[in-house]
């Protein structure tokens, strides 16, 4: 009798108490991108305009007859992220599901006012992944959601892919959500995030991921351009490719393009008279990808000259980066953190006024650049 009771107990346990967090897949609206804009007409209570991009799976997976739009953009205004998204649920028959979210867009205007209150939601909610890409929109996030024509059916996925392959040019400081928050919270380093912009090219819409937005604490203070962004990536060892234009050593007015193959940066800290000195040694290899004219690759001297030019170009990027960040007094490369790790005592002296100290920090950059190969041909095309 006791055993039968136990059996019933187990049965009841599985059949009634189970399933509490069950969600049928087709009841979910799969959100691929979340965006925040400033609500210009709104008052304090709804000062943000939240937008989500939800996929229409049948259209994406090719199950529907075609002609159906592959995504839906929902907009709602409000102050708190989650409250607004839950309210949005009241306007969507399906339950919004964020575990497959890929990109988070924050408009420049919002970023200037600070993002820490907004990001709290992403940290707290279990559905958001820390590897979502965080992008700062130059313009309006809502517009970006409709920015992609053609091939990739969902703009949010396209944005994600764009961010993923941005290493090809190394012009944008790509940033994941988790890393962004980590950089924001750490001492002696400021966070950054790539920019994204809707471009109109001959009446065609296009989205571009480029540049890097610089943050001081949680507020956007300025932008690095493409070269400066590359400088940042090179000295922080995040560069995996990218094109650099160098001057043709023979014809000064002409440019050659070099693709970065490999790059490593080493930092060294020296303290001279109680003042920190940082030495950055960058070793980089490149490949000639375009050399229109005038070079003889069969000679060793050509390569020596090219090495010099390449080093010059890389140094230029890094110096431009240092100049810009010093102007703004932000330290996205984390020199402060480096000092903290190497010499914590020294850091205690510097940390209170690090922004000012950084402006005068002695940073020495030395480049060891090599051109490895010249591509499939040694000669340029010579019509006769």
């Amino acid at each position: 009798m006791k055993k039968i009771f136990l059996l019933f107990f187990i049965l009841i346990l599985t059949l009634t108490f189970g399933c509490w967090s069950r969600m049928e897949l087709e009841d979910l609206a799969i959100v691929q991108g979340v965006g925040v804009d400033k609500n210009e007409q709104g008052k304090e209570k709804d000062r943000y305009l939240f937008s989500v991009q939800v996929v229409n799976p049948p259209a994406v997976s090719g199950k529907s007859g075609g002609g159906e739009q592959s995504y839906v953009v929902r907009i709602i205004s409000g102050e708190l992220f989650f409250t607004s998204l839950r309210e949005m649920n009241m306007e969507t028959p399906l339950r919004l599901y964020y575990a497959h979210n890929r990109v988070i867009l924050i408009s420049e205007d919002v970023a200037k006012e600070g993002v820490k209150d907004l990001l709290d939601f992403f940290e707290r909610n279990p559905q958001f992944r820390r590897d979502n890409y965080l992008l700062i929109v130059k313009g309006k996030a809502v517009e970006v959601w409709d920015g992609f024509p053609g091939i990739v059916k969902v703009p949010a996925i396209a944005l994600y892919d764009l961010a993923q392959k941005s290493f090809l040019t190394a012009e944008a400081g790509i940033m994941e959500l988790g890393e962004f928050i980590k950089l924001m919270e750490e001492e002696g380093v400021d966070s950054y995030a790539p920019g994204v912009k809707l471009l109109q090219k001959q009446k065609r819409k296009n989205i571009r991921v480029f540049q890097s937005a610089l943050f001081k604490k949680d507020k956007l203070v300025g932008w690095l351009n493409e070269e400066q962004s590359r400088g940042l990536l090179i000295i922080t060892n995040k560069v995996k490719g990218g094109i650099t234009e160098i001057t043709n050593p023979v014809k000064k007015e002409q440019k050659l393009s070099v693709e970065l193959e490999k790059s490593t940066a080493n930092w060294q800290l020296k303290v001279v008279n109680g003042q920190p000195q940082i030495k950055i040694l960058v070793e980089t290899d490149g490949i000639i990808t375009e050399a229109p004219d005038g070079l003889d690759f069969s000679k060793k001297e050509t390569f020596t000259e090219l090495d010099r030019e390449y080093a010059k170009a890389v140094r230029h990027d890094i110096l431009m980066f240092l100049q810009k960040t010093r102007e703004l007094g932000v330290d996205p490369a984390g020199f402060g953190r480096f000092i903290y790790r190497e010499n914590p005592k020294l850091w205690q002296e510097l940390k209170d006024d690090w922004a000012e100290e950084y402006k005068n920090l002695a940073i020495q950059v030395s480049i060891k650049a090599r051109i490895l190969r010249n591509g499939m041909t040694t000669m340029s095309i010579k019509p006769r």
Partner: protein, 534 residues
């Protein structure tokens, strides 16, 4: 687990009680005639026989005169070989005896020693033994004034000849299978082993059926304790009839509440012999081509006869596939349910979108959908197995069309679920042992229920339960997960992997073979030293 164990302990206890009461006495339907002896009067004895057997239409009683003495041959029509009876028994006794000179001094002795041209002869004086022999196909001879009857073996009945095994097909390897006749089966084994240590121990089980059962083993290899255990477990059985070895299996297995098979069966003599060579015991039952093999372990159910005949590369690859298939057959539907209803974040986005699209419009939750499909599939399989072959094909066509296409088109099930069920089905076919596949198929439903209630957590609970259960199982005292848990490195040579023959130097230890070595060391083929390849 606890519940089952307690239950089984209780039942075992009740068994012991009955065992204690009637030990050693297992009367057959013939035992009432144990005391009944032959009278010495042919006509009286024949009458008695007819009375006992109820003069059935297949009872043949041939009365004749032997040197003028009344005699009779008693046999069952259909169980004896007519030619042997005529040439070996009736002809010499009736014709040649007349040509011979005079009445011998002792007619009975001359009958037994001089006249009968039959190789196998027995004597008896009671009806019980006489009738059992006659009912098994022997010819009974009674002579006037003699209280001892002669039993001449002239067995011969319509039987299936040795043919290809139906369920254990190999591409390479012997194509002989056991038959329903016990004698043929023992011969098939004997043909493969010419060892004086091969033992066939015979016993009769079944009050009504008196079925012959043979325990076959190699005395110099098999552990005597295991053989003794088999003997005791078999002799414990008291049932009215044994029609198939499955009857015995349920009486001799260690844990009757375990879904996993603890006794292996095979219809391949080569497989049975290979098992005997590892120290296992084979139980042959008359009337079935299925031989039982004990003890057995979990990994054995993933080994096919062909593994040892084909090159070991292929065997290793196939074993890996079979193991994967086993896990797929058991866990795939539950994994799918758990992920679809609880852990949507675990699937790659593209796949998620695909499944979303295929599931939209499906009226049932994933669990119900899976249950529907699995049951439909099982029904289809069952129908295909039981139906006559020409109709079976029609069933598979209907099944493929209805389940594969119409159900999806009608929006009752999703394509992704069809794929999951199909993979599960194929995977369960890839397990070579049918009884292991059944275990996987049934246990799958339990895990499905767990997965539908608790998601991945439930699935893991199911898996852990399974492992604990398997660890607890024993087959004739040998741990079920034997070379894996308890772990034995040397026995790993023939589990998930199969090393080449020249490396399988010792027999698996967990069967406790008396003689461990089976291959001489250092037999790896290679070029002679000093010479170069090419």
């Amino acid at each position: 687990m606890g519940l089952w164990q307690k239950l089984s302990v209780k039942i075992k206890a009740s068994k012991k009680k009955t065992e204690g009461q009637k030990k050693d006495e297992k009367p057959s339907r013939l035992s009432p005639y144990q005391e009944k002896l032959f009278s010495g009067q042919v006509s009286k004895d024949i009458e008695e026989i007819k009375k006992i057997l109820g003069s059935p239409s297949d009872l043949v009683v041939r009365e004749f005169n032997y040197y003028g003495i009344p005699a009779a041959a008693v046999m069952i029509d259909g169980l004896v070989d007519k030619v042997t009876v005529v040439e070996g028994i009736l002809k010499p006794l009736m014709l040649e005896a007349r040509i011979a000179k005079a009445l011998p001094e002792n007619p009975y002795k001359s009958l037994r020693d001089e006249m009968l041209a039959i190789s196998e002869i027995k004597e008896t004086n009671n009806f019980s033994e006489f009738l059992l022999a006659v009912l098994s196909g022997e010819v009974g001879l009674i002579l006037e004034k003699n209280t001892t009857a002669l039993l001449a073996s002239a067995k011969g009945w319509a039987a299936r000849s040795v043919s290809e095994p139906m369920n254990e097909v190999v591409v390479r390897g012997p194509q002989e299978g056991f038959t329903e006749t016990l004698r043929v089966n023992t011969a098939l084994i004997r043909r493969r082993i010419r060892s004086p240590h091969l033992r066939f121990e015979s016993l009769k089980i079944g009050r009504t059926s008196q079925t012959d059962v043979v325990i076959a083993y190699l005395e110099d290899i098999a552990d005597a304790k295991i053989v003794e255990e088999v003997r005791t477990r078999l002799s414990r059985i008291d049932i009215d009839a044994v029609l198939e070895s499955g009857y015995l299996e349920e009486f001799i297995e260690d844990d009757p509440f375990n879904i996993f098979p603890q006794v292996k069966h095979t219809e391949r003599p080569d497989k049975a012999v290979a098992d005997m060579l590892e120290g296992k015991v084979v139980i042959l039952t008359d009337g079935t081509p299925m031989a039982l093999v004990v003890p057995t372990t979990f990994t054995e159910f993933f080994q096919a006869a062909e593994d040892y005949y084909e090159k070991y590369f292929l065997s290793n690859f196939l074993r890996a596939i079979r193991l994967i298939s086993f896990f797929l057959a058991m866990f795939l539907p539950s994994l799918y349910i758990a992920i679809i209803t609880f852990h949507q974040e675990m699937i790659p986005t593209e796949l998620l979108l695909n499944i979303w699209a295929s599931r939209s419009g499906v009226p049932f939750p994933a669990f119900v959908e899976a249950l529907l499909m699995e049951i439909a599939f099982e029904a289809l399989r069952e129908a295909g197995v039981r139906l006559p072959r020409p109709v079976g094909q029609a069933v598979s066509i209907v099944g493929a069309l209805i389940i594969g296409q119409a159900a999806v088109e009608a929006g009752i099930v999703s394509t992704s679920m069809v794929i999951v069920v199909a993979i599960t089905g194929i995977a369960s076919f890839a397990i070579p042992a049918f009884n292991m596949a059944i275990a996987a198929r049934i246990y799958r439903f339990i895990i499905m229920l767990l997965a539908a209630s608790f998601g991945m957590f439930g699935l893991m609970i199911g898996f852990i339960f399974l492992v604990i259960m398997l660890c607890n199982t024993r087959s004739f005292g040998v741990p079920y997960l034997a070379p894996l848990a308890p772990f034995s490195l040397s026995a790993q040579k023939d589990t998930a992997a199969r090393v080449p023959w020249w490396l399988m130097i010792k027999r698996p230890k967990h069967y406790r073979p008396q003689e461990e070595r089976r291959v001489k060391e250092g037999l790896m083929p290679g070029f002679p030293e000093g010479e170069k390849r090419g």
